[in-house]
Amino acid sequence: MSVGVVVFPGSNCDRDVRWALEGCLGVPTRFLWHEESDLSGLDAVVIPGGFSYGDYLRCGAIARFAPVLAAVQSFARGGGPVLGICNGFQVLTELGLLPGALTRNAKLHFLCEPTALQVLPGQCRWLQGYGAGETITLPIAHGEGRYQCDPNQLQELEQNGQIVLRYGQNPNGSMADVAGLTNAAGNVLGLMPHPERACDPVTGGIDGRRLLETVLG
């Protein structure tokens, strides 16, 4: 059992993800530099938060062309579990593994606070440790987290049960209170909140643990 953690120039939550997995849950990790493309021996891949390539042009726009992501894309298409947190979620939408886009928070502020979320696990492999409709608290830390897609796409997501995490009190103006989305197959999850920052009791809640544990269980 080993989890790959992608590292771009500008990633800043890669070590937090490693601590959550190794330090809190005892799961070995391997950093995947953006120029690598060997995912052999990995059971899951996490694209962590940060500001990949400085968020130049648009958040996630340049990261999309990194060699490691071509490998992650095949891994995901083959059913491998992929988790994109915050900037990782933005990258997954740019990559086309998840639909829509993340845009500037409606009130412009960078938001950094604990947020109540409703979990609707559906088919999402990462969320099977939570009850349907369960409320959990995870921290958010983003300036561009307002989920946006066209109305037909939104309807499709609703019908397929792909909106698996919703804000209790929408902090950023996201359509349909979207905080996290899964793909149709349920192996890819993108979310703006940070589950890796809610794993160590020293820093507060541990509601993020089950998310990282379940898929690896």
Partner: protein
């Protein structure tokens, strides 16, 4: 090979909220400019591209605009391309 000069204008689609534009509009009224109904912020990207002919330059720039410079989910783009002669003068 001729050098084509181009500019790509990227703007948020009309249906997408532009909070930065709204904040700037509020500042405009403090400057004393009243009557401003809309203010939306986009990007202008200036490029110089070597290509064997105009059709090739156009198709490469369109591909670039659609796949990298703009995200069609939230943005529209417009391409302006100058003839090589004009480009060299500019």
């Amino acid at each position: 090979m001729p050098l084509y000069q181009a500019r790509v204008l990227v703007s948020l689609r009309p249906s997408v909220l532009d909070p930065a534009g709204e904040a700037t509009r509020a500042a405009a009224s403090r400057l004393g400019v009243t009557g401003l109904q809309t203010l939306r912020i986009g990007k202008a990207i200036e490029l110089q591209l070597e290509a064997p002919d105009r059709a090739t330059a156009l198709s490469q720039l369109e591909h670039l605009s659609d796949r990298l410079l703009a995200n069609p989910v939230i943005e529209d783009w417009q391409l302006e391309i100058l003839d090589p002669a004009q480009g060299q003068q500019a």
